[in-house]
């Protein structure tokens, strides 16, 4: 029997240029990096030269899953896809996209912890993985097809069970703003074009094996039950969104939308969610309805059910049935997605004839999902929609797009909020047809450069939510003040970190949040009420570090950082405490590699540090503080010119943010002047060779 449980034990390496398939020992080579993004960063560090471009055959793309994928641990369905990021501007840097669904579990059941794709096939191919057998197959008949048809055709060959991750026309055409999608709607943004550049249309994976749990079975089940008992709704919101008999607290911003009388109206027969009392673990799936949360009350009548990922009872991927769209727009009446994916179509429009939460807005969402999830277009966390509105309404688009092409669009439909406009726009983005569509498909940074728009304009405009490197903010000062700002400086795309926002939005009263914060980060002063932020303190820096490390930990274990961490709970009897060590309990039992919460956080820190090292190496500078960890001007402005730290503003203070960065770097053990990790910091985490390599390049502080 293998020494460790959890891991499948092998990493699949597929060289498309040589049509060569090989395997590597996961434990030998990657155990210190867990899996997921950890394996991804390790491969990119070891095997790519600085200056490699995303669409070069030399670029590699790693589909990584972790030791908890495919186990019974809740929320374990995430696959991390790491590569050089095509929309990272002005130069590509390492980043990762994350897809849910069942791909991660199937890969484990097939016997693999990761797939490393390298080279470029000489013609379109797809990769078939059936248990231990991987084959490169001809995809010429699939090239040019959308994601749905590709998925169906591969399933016809492999059988009904596989998880198929495919790119659409956008990826084939090397549109940087493109995705890979498994199971029709579970997408990972930004990477479609990298697969397209390798002529790899899809990966179909089917496994009939299992994941061995190394630890005691009873202990394992006990931890699973503990974890389930701590779950809230999507984003770990731990209170309902309206008063419920069982709950002392409620929060209208909560995604726990279940209540007596609320029904999945398109289920046959319809299903009432009921109040979903938290001790009833069999009703967790009824708590969340993200269509109702994002699209409004009308979405209840169209709700069929919640869908989602392996072993996740949250079911945040809401399935909708809107019969009217079939005859009106000629699209399937069923659609499903979560969060920004639901809003893809709606986001392009400023107004709708019946308001922002009317029937037309829902129809726009259905049309948007249908097109984007088939063509494989990415929204960059809603940035493409915000850019589109801005560029149209401020007249830039009319000036930059050739007149004949511009007039060919039905702008009257657009301004009226007619969803049919999306049929004109989205296929053109996927096919790079014309100046407008081509520019939009580049991503914000390259679009601005192409059209001669100074990035400064985007950095100053709060409405655009643009942060840096061609990407928007993702839960920054609006959610968590200085902690949110720090987190948003650290990545090469939108931060995708929810560790902090899942806490600040959990719905508990501020005094309860402060009590929990004192337990976790050492002081109640780590958190503030929204729009009533206090000056920086070291506990906020601790919260930022913890948030980032837990994100990397989740991305490497295959746990969902859209749900975790689980440090708050809906349980009154626990005084709403969660369990800070749930990840280490699960990891230790699954793998047999016993690690405390602190020890596992150090592994996460190693992974995060490798991401930092890669960024430093590929930027060719150690001056991360001023060249990379930048903050947009809108963070330091307020529409009413209210001063920072007064109630009613999320405005930050420049000097205070400098102090925040000082405290954060200090907390990380990095050099404060440059924001770069020191040699000691690398060595402390077992990355001495990384430090050596950076030293040779003059990139150590």
């Amino acid at each position: 029997m293998a020494k460790y449980g959890g891991w499948a034990g092998k990493v699949l390496r597929v060289d498309l240029s040589e049509r060569k398939i090989s395997t590597e020992d996961t434990i030998e080579k990657y155990k210190d990096y867990l899996g997921g993004t950890g394996i991804g960063y390790k491969v990119i560090w070891d095997e790519l030269l600085p200056g490699t471009k995303p669409f070069d055959p030399d670029n590699k793309i790693v589909f990584g899953v972790g030791p908890l994928a495919g186990t019974g641990a809740p929320c374990n369905g995430r696959t991390a896809i790491t590569t050089l990021w095509p929309t990272c501007w002005p130069r590509p840097l390492v980043a990762s996209g994350h897809m849910g669904g069942h791909f991660a579990a199937e890969l484990k059941y097939a016997g693999y912890d990761a797939i490393i794709i390298e080279g470029k096939a000489d013609r379109p191919v797809w990769l078939s993985i059936m248990d231990g057998k991987a084959e490169i197959k001809d995809a010429r008949q699939l090239w040019g097809q959308g994601i749905r048809r590709t998925t169906v055709e591969i399933c016809q060959e492999m059988g009904p069970e596989p998880s198929v991750a495919a790119i659409g026309q956008a990826g084939e055409n090397l549109v940087p703003m493109s995705v890979v999608i498994n199971s029709y709607s579970h997408s990972a943004g930004g990477v479609g074009g990298v697969l397209g550049s390798k002529n790899l249309k899809a990966i179909g994976v089917r496994g009939t094996g299992s994941v061995r749990i190394a630890g005691n079975k009873e202990e394992w089940e006990k931890v699973i039950k503990l974890h389930l008992s701590l779950l809230g709704a999507n984003n770990q919101h731990v209170v309902p969104n309206s008063p419920q008999p069982w709950s002392e607290h409620y929060n209208p911003g909560s995604r726990w939308v279940a209540s007596t009388g609320r029904k999945w109206g398109a289920a046959a027969p319809s299903i009432e969610t009921g109040p979903c009392e938290p001790h009833n673990l069999n009703k967790i799936a009824y708590r969340t309805n993200n269509a109702a949360f994002f699209l409004g009350e009308k979405a209840w009548k169209y709700t069929v059910r919640g869908n989602g990922c392996t072993a996740c009872p949250i079911r945040c991927h809401t399935m909708l049935k809107v019969p009217g769209v079939s005859t009106k727009y000629g699209i399937p009446e069923i659609g499903q997605n979560t969060c920004v994916g639901l809003l893809f179509g709606r986001g392009f429009f400023k107004t709708f004839p019946d308001g922002p939460k009317g029937e037309t807005a829902i129809e726009a969402c259905m049309v948007g999902m249908h097109l984007a999830d088939d063509l494989g277009i990415w929204d960059n966390y809603g940035q493409v929609q915000r850019d589109f509105q801005m560029l149209y309404y401020n007249g830039t688009m009319g000036r930059k797009v050739p007149e004949k092409e511009f007039k060919a669009y039905s702008w009257d439909k657009y301004e009226q909020g007619d969803p049919t406009f999306l049929f004109e726009l989205l296929p053109r983005i996927a096919n790079k047809e014309g100046e407008l569509a081509t520019a939009l498909g580049l991503g914000t940074g390259y679009l601005l450069e192409r059209w001669g728009i100074p990035e400064q304009e985007w950095l100053e405009n709060h409405d655009l939510l643009y942060w840096k490197l061609g990407h928007p903010k993702h839960h920054s000062n609006e959610d968590a003040g200085q902690c949110g700002v720090i987190i948003n400086t650290q990545y090469n795309r939108d931060a995708q970190c929810h560790s902090h926002s899942n806490f600040t939005r959990n719905g508990l009263p501020i005094e309860v949040q402060k009590r929990l914060a004192a337990d976790i980060w050492g002081s109640p002063d780590a958190v503030d009420s929204v729009a009533a932020f206090a000056p920086m303190n070291k506990y906020k820096a601790k919260m930022a570090k913890w948030s980032l490390l837990r994100k990397e930990l989740h991305d490497s274990l295959s746990l969902c950082n859209w749900m975790g961490p689980w440090v708050a709970s809906p349980l009154r009897e626990r005084d709403y405490r969660g369990e800070d060590s749930i990840e280490s309990l699960l990891y230790s039992l699954a793998t047999g590699d016993k690690k405390s919460s602190q020890e596992l956080d150090r592994v996460a820190e190693r992974i995060f540090l490798l991401h930092r090292a890669l960024t430093i190496r590929d930027m060719g500078t150690k001056d991360m503080r001023t060249k990379h960890d930048t903050i947009p001007h809108w963070v330091f402005a307020d529409p009413k010119d209210k001063a920072a730290f007064t109630k009613g503003t999320i405005r930050m203070d420049k000097e205070d943010i400098q102090l925040a960065m000082d405290m954060y770097y200090e907390e990380m053990g990095w050099d404060k002047q440059t924001g770069s990790p020191t040699r000691d910091a690398y060595q402390r985490l077992g990355l001495g060779t990384v430090a050596e390599e950076l030293s040779k390049r003059g990139l150590l502080p």
């Binding site: 008999p245 002392e248 911003g253 609006e478 009263p509 729009a531």
Partner: protein, 188 residues
């Protein structure tokens, strides 16, 4: 003593059962229920002090059982296992005076979380007021000095929110209303 223990056990069950249906109980309703169950010696409980003493004992021995009081000081009993104090208070305020309910809900929210409360939410369960009732309450509120701490603000998409100036500064309330109504969905 055995008899008393039996009565106490029945009281506990009566309160818990009623809480499971989402309702509060007054002492006189508990007495009626005891009698309907044919519990002997309940006649003695007709004397108010006896019943109150027993209820005090029951609450002391069962941490899930609580009493909340209306504006006249009358006690209403519930079990936290299935009916929270927050929910119970809403039920009580609603039965007393919807205007009082709106004001107290707004004050509690402004103090605790803190956040303003959308006017529309009072038409949803468990508040369950009609649009006309809400408008009437707000009109009365505007002219009653007891409610002068309750202020209104409209978000950028026109949703009306209420907050208490005793607990929230106007600029903070305005920002929070915008955050709940627009900001959170725009920043998912």
């Amino acid at each position: 003593m055995e008899r008393q223990a039996e009565i106490c056990a029945n009281i506990v069950k009566i309160i818990r059962d009623r809480s499971e249906t989402g309702q509060l109980l007054r002492a006189d309703e508990i007495l009626v229920e005891l009698k309907s169950r044919g519990i002997p010696e309940t006649q003695d409980l007709d004397r108010k002090t006896n019943l109150e003493t027993l209820l005090e004992q029951v609450l002391a021995e069962n941490p899930d059982l609580r009493a909340i009081y209306d504006r006249n000081g009358s006690a209403y009993y519930h079990s936290l296992e299935s009916l929270s104090e927050t929910y119970g208070r809403i039920l009580l305020w609603k039965s007393e005076d919807p205007l009082w309910m709106i004001a107290e809900v707004v004050r509690k929210n402004s103090q605790l979380y803190p956040r303003p409360v959308s006017v529309d939410s009072f038409q949803e369960p468990p508040f369950g007021l009609t649009g006309e009732e809400v408008v009437e309450c707000l009109d009365r509120m505007a002219h009653d000095k007891e409610y002068q701490d309750i202020a209104r603000t409209d978000t950028s998409v026109g949703t009306q929110f209420l907050y208490s100036t005793d607990h929230l500064e106007p600029d903070h309330a305005i920002a929070l209303a915008e955050w709940f109504d627009v900001g959170q969905v725009d920043n998912p």
